[in-house]
């Protein structure tokens, strides 16, 4: 590496963004898994954003101009996925449910990231008694079962039931409380590792203030794993939300559609042969979680050079291209 001439290739924006750069780097099975995940997530996001356009009826609509919807109608006709015992259209509820899920993910994970990253940086860099207290608190939160903690927070905030934003925030806070320790831990560990790196020491030697070192040197280097944790946590957030809804601590059916709540109401239907009220919301949860997990896990594998699959050397490449690359690497 002692050659003096070296032309740096500026990477395009597409190559630097987390997910698109991963697609480019991947091959074979890893690429297939990542693409499936991306497609599932895309479907989820499109459904969430365009829910008002896509859904044939509103989430709490039980009648239209032709009259009241039939209860527990089988799929077909006006209601392609059937209706529930309350007369809600299942297809509409599933599509509107994606909007609720997406909002909860954004609210919960963003709050968790901000609080977790901040506490992690401060705690890791300064250490001392603050660090010890925060670690103990984080451990204590870890010791609680996720769902129990979420229920407690949900009850504490608004007695367990509420409208759309109240419900979203309750779920969001509940999930935040569960996830903050995770972000805190990851960022704190990275910060402690980076604190001993020579480039941080060299900033200390020239007299940089702690705020400057944290903001300029540690922050950008410590947060590189966040997109990965984000996708993995997003799937957990959906499960927690669905769990809360299923247990009856979610959002009222009149204020928003929520998959977990629908699953709960579908329980009694299952024994009487009415499958459509449970299968569709359930499948929505499974596919969304699967999509997010596939993206997250694939990114995890692709970020690790030892796990990342590569094309065989010397195959499937044009001669000229190969020559250019050796000159760069030489």
């Amino acid at each position: 590496m002692s050659t003096e001439a070296f032309t740096p290739a500026k990477k395009s924006l597409l190559d630097r963004l987390p997910v698109s750069s991963h697609i480019r780097r991947s091959v074979g099975l890893q690429r297939t898994m990542l693409l499936i995940g991306v497609v599932l997530c895309a479907v989820f996001l499109v459904a969430a954003i365009f829910a008002p356009l896509l859904a044939p009826y509103g989430y709490s609509q039980i009648s239209d101009d032709a009259g009241t919807f039939p209860a527990q109608a089988a799929p077909g006709g006006k209601h392609p996925w059937g209706t529930t015992v309350g007369g809600y259209d299942v297809l509409s509820r599933v599509i509107w449910g994606s909007q609720t899920a997406a909002t909860v993910i954004v609210v919960a994970v963003l709050m968790a990231i901000f609080i977790g990253v901040f506490l992690g940086l401060v705690s890791g860099y300064f250490g001392g008694w603050l660090d010890r207290i925060l670690v103990v608190v984080a451990d204590a939160i870890y010791a609680f079962p996720t769902l129990l903690l979420a229920i407690v927070v949900s009850i504490a905030i608004n007695k367990g039931q509420s409208g759309f934003w109240g419900g979203i925030l309750a779920c969001g806070f509940a999930i935040t409380a569960v996830f903050v320790p995770q972000y805190f831990r990851v960022i704190r560990a990275e910060t402690i590792r980076l604190k001993a790196e020579p480039f941080v020491e060299s900033a200390q030697v020239v007299g940089a203030s702690s705020a400057r070192i944290i903001g300029r040197h540690i922050f950008a280097n410590a947060t590189r794993t966040l997109p990965l944790i984000f996708t993995l946590n997003a799937s957990e957030a959906i499960l927690t939300l669905a769990g809360l809804g299923f247990l009856g601590f979610g959002i009222e059916p009149s204020s928003a559609a929520e998959w977990g709540f629908d699953l709960n109401k579908a329980m009694s239907d299952a024994s009487s042969g009415i499958w459509w009220t449970g299968v569709f919301p359930g499948a929505a949860i499974v596919l969304t979680v699967l999509g997010l997990t596939l993206v997250g896990e694939s990114m995890n594998d692709l970020n690790d050079p030892r796990l990342r699959g590569r094309r065989r050397a010397g195959s499937k490449r044009k001669g000229t291209e190969v020559k250019n690359q050796t000159e760069v690497s030489a």
């Binding site: 250019n324 690497s329 030489a330």
Partner: protein
């Protein structure tokens, strides 16, 4: 995806050689496209011969060595043939390869502490190889294997092997661990040992012992050795024949004596010229008394003690123990010592990265005992620091320009244009184009990064520069350039420097005044050429005698003298 893929193999004829490498070609698939690590390498090793493969980093020497044992990762594509006793390592089946490993060829790794598994006794680890190669399908009993492990430990000179065979790796010192690794390699009496940088992780005095051991093995048991190294002194000490590699190709092959005396290729000549040679090109040549002794004193240590607190119940560890020295303005003070001698701790204490615990350390008139960051901060602009690893000492997210300008932004609050101009000037003076300010650290080579690091240390015109092993992570030829640059810039800027290194020859090139540290104590200090030429303290004598010089004939004489020194 099981093991490296093979393309085109040419069968070689059986010869009297232990190892035959025929037109070896290794290509790696990486994110940046294919990398041709080894382009076309042919060499052979005769019985009882030490063949050294030398080259700088990226020359393909380690890849060649790993190919001999079939240790390449699955991203590699291999062409050509590697014949060990008639078996082509590249094409044989996995089970056959397992038989060859250990029995016909064994490997000694660079870092003995990671090559041994910490949760098993060394005896168990040596026996593991013996039991894996049961002769004639018979199982080797545990007792027999242990007896042979003891035998192997005795061969490599571990005292009291019957007892120490039950020790765990952490109970051995670094040099002894490397002996154990060699014992494990020897356990099955392989005809060939591949030693990949076997002494690089060791101190000079320990290195001399391991080289002695390797020579003994060759002389007593007729083992052939392939020695991979970048250290020309080691080559001069041990090798019979030398292969010089550069960017995946063999540049030159010659008997050691011939190669050092009359290198044929330009590259070899340049490489040899770049190797620092103790006693040549000394900075203190002809000095009779300490230079700059009438200049103001910048660093004044009296009975300096630095302790690291021990864990609960264990006493504190004294890294630096009662050291006294001074560094005057304009002087280059060379601090030499082996690992654990406390040299880095002293450097870090002067920069306020470590706390002192006793005695007195005055830096630019400021007492560092119980220093407060707030009161010390104004002085930091007068202290520059160059770190050992240029790759790690730059924030990978910032451009070189931002990194170099940082001290300026903190202390003088310049306008962006001023900062840019100054950064450009500094980069020019360390012989980098000013346009490099827009590049990111990973886009520079090791030597370039270390120069940028020097630029950052000098941007505020400091009166004192601390350089902690600034060249030990660099290749020899790059090191030579950086040292030359350092010397020029020191003469131009006139700053005082504390130059910390484990390499006596490097320190001698730069420093007029040299201090030798041993286990936290300053055992000797004096004018560089006098300390190197006529050492007074026993440890300094041993240190200098252990250092192999890049000249086989001179090294043979030194070796004899070293033996005599140890005998007394």
């Amino acid at each position: 995806m099981s093991g490296p893929e093979i393309i085109e193999t040419s069968a070689g004829q059986p010869t009297g050689h232990v190892l035959d490498i025929d037109h070896l070609k290794v290509t790696f698939a990486t994110d940046g496209g294919d990398v041709y690590a080894v382009k076309d390498v042919s060499l052979d090793v005769r019985p009882g011969e030490v063949l050294a493969i030398v080259g700088e980093s990226g020359s393909g020497k380690t890849v060649t060595a790993k190919t001999i044992l079939g240790l390449l990762p699955e991203t590699a594509t291999i062409g050509g043939a590697v014949l060990i006793n008639g078996n082509n390592v590249i094409t044989v089946s996995a089970s056959k390869l397992r038989q060859i490993r250990g029995r016909d060829v064994a490997m000694v790794f660079q870092e003995p502490s990671t090559a041994l598994n910490p949760v098993f006794t060394v005896g168990w680890q040596i026996a593991e190889g013996i039991r894996a190669h049961a002769a004639g399908g018979k199982r080797v009993t545990a007792k027999e294997a242990k007896a042979r492990a003891i035998e192997a430990l005795r061969k490599v000179g571990i005292p009291d092997p019957e007892h120490r065979v039950n020790y765990y790796p952490h109970q051995f010192s670094g040099g002894q661990k490397q002996r154990v690794v060699i014992a494990a390699a020897l356990a099955l009496n392989p005809g060939l040992i591949v030693a990949d940088e076997p002494t690089t992780a060791l101190d000079v005095t320990v290195q001399a012992e391991i080289l002695e051991l390797l020579r003994d093995l060759r002389d007593k048991y007729g083992t052939s050795i392939v020695l991979i190294t970048h250290n020309m002194g080691v080559v001069a000490d041990l090798a019979d024949r030398v292969v010089v590699m550069y960017q995946g190709d063999v540049v030159e092959e010659a008997p050691a004596r011939v190669l050092f005396a009359e290198p044929k290729q330009d590259y070899t000549r340049k490489l040899l010229a770049a190797v620092p040679h103790l006693g040549r090109n000394s900075a203190s040549e002809g000095l009779k008394e300490r230079a700059h002794k009438n200049s103001p004193v910048l660093v004044d240590a009296t009975n300096l003690t630095i302790e690291y607190p021990g864990r609960l119940g264990t006493p504190a560890f004294k890294a630096v123990d009662g050291v006294s020295f001074t560094v005057s303005e304009g002087e280059v003070f060379g601090l030499v010592g082996e690992s654990g001698s406390g040299k880095t701790t002293i450097g870090r204490a002067i920069a306020g990265l470590n706390r002192t615990t006793g005695g007195s350390l005055k830096v630019l008139g400021y007492e560092m005992l119980n220093f407060k960051e707030r009161t010390f901060k104004p002085l930091r602009k007068d202290i520059g620091f160059v770190f050992q690893d240029p790759a790690a000492s730059f924030n990978p997210q910032l451009t070189i320009g931002d990194c170099v300008a940082e001290p300026m932004l903190i202390h003088t609050n310049p306008s962006p244009a001023q900062a840019r101009k100054r950064v450009g000037e500094l980069l020019e003076s360390v012989q980098l184009p000013a346009s490099y300010a827009d590049r990111y650290p990973h886009e520079l080579s090791g030597g370039q990064r270390q120069r940028a690091s020097l630029a950052r240390a000098l941007i505020l015109n400091p009166r004192l520069l601390i350089a902690d092993e600034p060249t030990s992570a660099l290749d020899v030829s790059v090191q030579a350039k950086v040292l030359e640059l350092f010397k020029e810039i020191q003469a131009e800027f006139g700053f005082a420097a504390l130059f910390i290194s484990h390499d006596l020859a490097v320190v001698d090139i730069l420093s007029q005044w040299v201090g030798v540290l041993y286990k936290g104590k300053l055992v000797e200090q004096g004018i560089g050429s006098q300390v190197m030429g006529a050492p007074q303290h026993d440890y300094t004598k041993r240190l200098i005698a252990s250092l192999p010089v890049p000249d086989p004939d001179e090294q043979a004489r030194r070796r004899a003298a070293h033996r005599a020194l140890l005998a007394t």
